[in-house]
């Protein structure tokens, strides 16, 4: 039988969605008191696997052994009873309820809100995770929301804790704090299954790693003995093309193509962030990155720049020197700007329309002459040709000649959307989360395309939560926190620590606070 050290063993676990084998005969063991990494690209089957472990998905075949005994994890409450806790990637929190109420909902015991609040407070003190149990979740930052998830999970006293991409929304300092908590849990004998595609933190934290690719286990390793690039090779299956970038100095001498001066914006809903005096200039030939923890006003800023939200004064936003604050999206596109929003389906593309139709929808004003005969009738031939050119240029993989946008994988659709804008040779490009949920190969291609666009003399503004990405492609990085934007820091002077502190809300103007620990 088992040696008694294995807490969880998975044998031949398989999950099939339609014709796709999301998980294909997965074998995995997790020992007591270890932090076990589950590595893999988007779509490798990591989330499907943990959903089966936590009982939110039913496997088609295979078995799960808990402490050597076969178990059927038929629902999350069965998983919790066994001692499996889960911190979700897309938080499973209720925004209209308080932290304590959210915690209460996940506990199977009958217990009052007041008692929960007290326990949560004790636990948050013990693990150094400050939390106000009576705060409404809708008012909390992403980092605070994650603390609720963790405390909620700990209150169930699990023996195995599953964390799905926990640091993707944290500042480097918040992530460091999380690692300390996890190490402490390990020293208490708890096991942790840690899902991530960030190789550095896996190397820093984890004892063993299992790598998934296309739903199959492709290897087990000790991440501390591997290099980041050898891990990446295991995940992707071949070498990832590296991005080439020669940073340029941010300079006043070149033409300012995108200017935002003193942009203020009221919060539209109780959960959105007001913008407060945001100013930024992007010159020709530059890539400026905007870093920040999710939900600090980046979405609101993008809407204001792209023209989804108009400004009160026309001169707040200038494109190529012309006042654009009162212009709508098409008006700003006509001035030579291009925009790629964060949400691909429903925002960047209409899901049930074909790629060529999506192309027309975004460019019928700017390329009216090319795409519309007499300004009314669609020139299908030109459209198909342009669509084909974009597909070739960006290496978009698709299953049909002209499929619906929703039929493409996230990465391929993103390549098409970015390609659609680049194909216009825009002089100003604004992108929000260019490679979110995109596999490493496609991400490298998109990043290189943005760098090349800037090198050809355009101004490029990239909003991203991925610091590695920003350091890879930017000439300067500004940080957005609580609706305010810091001055851009030239890439030569920027460090992870400095940017991380600004993301956490340190005041850039006082050098003293940059040296301090964030509370």
């Amino acid at each position: 039988m088992t040696q008694g050290r294995d807490l969880l063993e998975v044998r031949g676990l398989t999950k099939i969605f339609g014709r796709l084998k999301a998980c294909d005969g997965i074998d995995l063991t997790i020992e007591k008191g270890e932090i076990h990494a589950l590595l893999g690209e988007n779509g490798a089957g990591k989330s499907t696997l943990v959903k089966m472990l936590f009982g939110s998905l039913e496997p088609n075949s295979g078995e799960i052994l808990w402490k050597g005994e076969p178990v059927a994890v038929t629902s999350p409450s069965v998983a919790r009873k066994l001692g499996i806790g889960m911190v979700f990637q897309h938080f499973s929190l209720f925004e209209a309820l308080t932290a304590a109420e959210n915690i209460l909902l996940s506990l199977d015991r009958r217990i009052g809100v007041g008692e929960i609040a007290e326990k949560a407070r004790e636990l948050s003190r013990a693990y150094g995770l400050p939390l106000d149990p009576h705060a409404l979740v809708g008012d909390l930052s992403v980092g605070e929301r994650q603390r609720i998830e963790i405390i909620r999970c700990l209150l169930q006293e699990p023996e195995l804790i599953i964390l799905d991409e926990p640091t993707s929304v944290l500042t480097p300092q918040e992530a460091e704090k999380l690692f300390e908590t996890l190490e402490r849990l390990r020293s208490e004998g708890k096991s942790i299954l840690y899902i991530s595609h960030r190789l550095e933190e896996v190397k820093r934290l984890c004892d063993r790693a299992t790598v998934l690719r296309h739903g199959k286990v492709v290897g087990h390793c000790d991440p501390r003995k591997e290099t980041a690039s050898s891990l990446a090779r295991m995940m992707v299956g071949n070498e990832v093309q590296s991005v080439v970038h020669e940073p340029v100095d941010v300079s006043e001498t070149r033409e300012a193509l995108l200017e935002v001066r003193g942009l203020n914006r009221q919060a539209a809903t109780p959960f959105s962030i007001p913008l407060r005096g945001v100013s930024l200039v992007v010159h020709a030939g530059e890539v400026i990155g905007i870093a920040g923890v999710a939900g600090n006003g980046q979405g609101e800023f993008f809407e204001a720049v792209s023209g989804e939200a108009l400004q009160a004064e026309a001169d707040v936003v200038k494109l190529r020197g012309k006042d654009a604050g009162r212009l709508d999206i098409s008006g700003r596109r006509l001035l030579g700007a291009a925009f790629v929003p964060e949400e691909r389906l429903g925002h960047g593309a209409a899901p049930r329309m074909r790629l060529s139709e999506n192309l027309l929808l975004s460019r019928f004003r700017t390329d009216a002459k090319a795409f519309l005969a007499g300004g009314r009738l669609i020139r299908a031939g030109t459209l198909a040709e342009t669509s084909k050119r974009i597909v070739k240029e960006m290496d978009v993989r698709k299953s049909a000649e002209d499929p619906e946008a929703a039929a493409l994988s996230g990465g391929n659709l993103q390549k098409f959307i970015v390609g659609r804008e680049l194909d216009r040779r825009p002089s100003i490009m604004v992108v929000n989360q260019p490679t979110w949920g995109v596999d490493a190969g496609a991400a490298a291609r998109i990043r290189q395309a943005l760098i090349d666009l800037a090198a050809s003399g355009s101004a490029v503004l990239v909003i991203s939560q991925d610091l590695d990405e920003l350091f890879e492609i930017s000439d300067a990085i500004a940080v957005m926190h609580d609706g305010k934007l810091s001055a851009p820091i030239p890439i030569a002077e920027a460090t992870y620590e400095k940017i991380g502190l600004l993301m956490g809300g340190a005041d850039a103007s006082s050098p003293a606070s940059l040296g301090e620990e964030v509370a």
Partner: protein, 306 residues
């Protein structure tokens, strides 16, 4: 019985069916389901309540029959929208049309026949107190049920764990599902509760308000109940206030019409709708509070991933 007292009594009688139907729909919507079939369930409650009372000779059997009819109608809605995930708006509208048609057919032989009225409470001394005696101690049983229902729903939603769970499902059904909460199960119960309330409200019309059966006798009250829920920001006590305001203006404008101030009667008839909407919009001006109380997953079909 003085004039003021009788006006207060008629206001309570006019407000009660709205309050009950709206309270049921409030629970349904708090679970994230939008049932536009309130009018249909209500009119079925009215006809079945009347028929059950007429056939058995007991108005209490009428109350039971009305509730049962509402529940059966709501089960049809629940099966369609929850089990096979049809569009909630279209299904709710069909339910109303179905109820109006079906009730006309069932009620055909009852048109014009004498109804049975639910007896009112009659306590010695207390019921004879001046002004408030009959209002507080001399009403029909459904009036007392409606008040108990309001307090009960308020307590359930904000003071019990099951109520918290129900609200959480309305806020995000996918999060609730991820926690292992039975989204469909809770929604079935909520929809059935809404049906029972609508049926009871209908029975009130044909057993208390005007103890007889007339085709389409709900006269749009189901729609008013739906509007009350939204304009009251899904909060039980505001629904109570809205229902009584509507009742008060309805009765007030009737008296005004009788006195004849030279105002066109059509204008006066529209006054209750106008006044209720204006007042409720004014008290729900606080956008933040409204959004906090709005069930975020309202009307979205839920298909669990398996």
């Amino acid at each position: 019985m003085g004039i003021a007292e009788s006006i207060l009594l008629t206001i309570a009688t006019a407000a009660t069916p709205l309050l009950i139907a709206a309270m049921g729909e409030l629970v349904v919507e708090r679970s994230g389901v939008l049932n536009l079939g309130v009018e249909g369930m209500m009119v079925m409650g009215a006809v079945c309540g009347f028929a059950a009372a007429a056939l058995t000779g007991s108005p209490w059997m009428g109350v039971f029959g009305g509730i049962l009819a509402g529940v059966v109608m709501s089960l049809l809605f629940a099966f369609l929208t929850l089990s096979i995930a049809t569009n909630q708006v279209a299904t709710g509208l069909s339910l109303t049309l179905l109820g109006l048609g079906l009730s006309g057919m069932i009620g055909e032989s009852f048109v014009g026949s004498a109804g049975r009225k639910l007896p009112v409470l009659d306590l010695p001394v207390l019921s004879d107190l001046p002004l408030v005696g009959r209002l507080v101690f001399g009403q029909d049983p459904i009036f007392y049920m409606s008040i108990a229902l309001t307090l009960g729903v308020s307590w359930f939603l904000f003071r019990t764990r099951a109520g918290l769970t129900l609200r959480s499902i309305g806020d995000s059904h996918s999060s609730a599902h991820a926690l292992g909460i039975s989204v469909i199960g809770y929604r079935y119960l909520a929809v059935m509760f809404g049906g029972a309330c609508a049926g009871l409200a209908g029975a009130h019309l044909s057993l208390v308000y005007t103890p007889q059966w007339v085709e389409n006798m709900t006269a749009g009250r189901g729609w008013i109940a739906l509007a009350l829920v939204v304009f009251a920001s899904w909060r039980p006590l505001r629904v109570l206030a809205g229902a009584y305001l509507f009742g008060a203006v309805t009765i007030g404008q009737l008296h005004a019409q009788a006195l004849g101030f030279g105002i066109p009667s059509q204008l006066l008839s529209s006054l209750p709708y106008l006044a209720t909407i204006v007042v409720l919009v004014l008290i729900s001006r606080n956008r933040r509070l409204t959004l906090m109380n709005t069930p975020a997953s309202l009307g979205q079909p839920f298909v669990p991933e398996r």
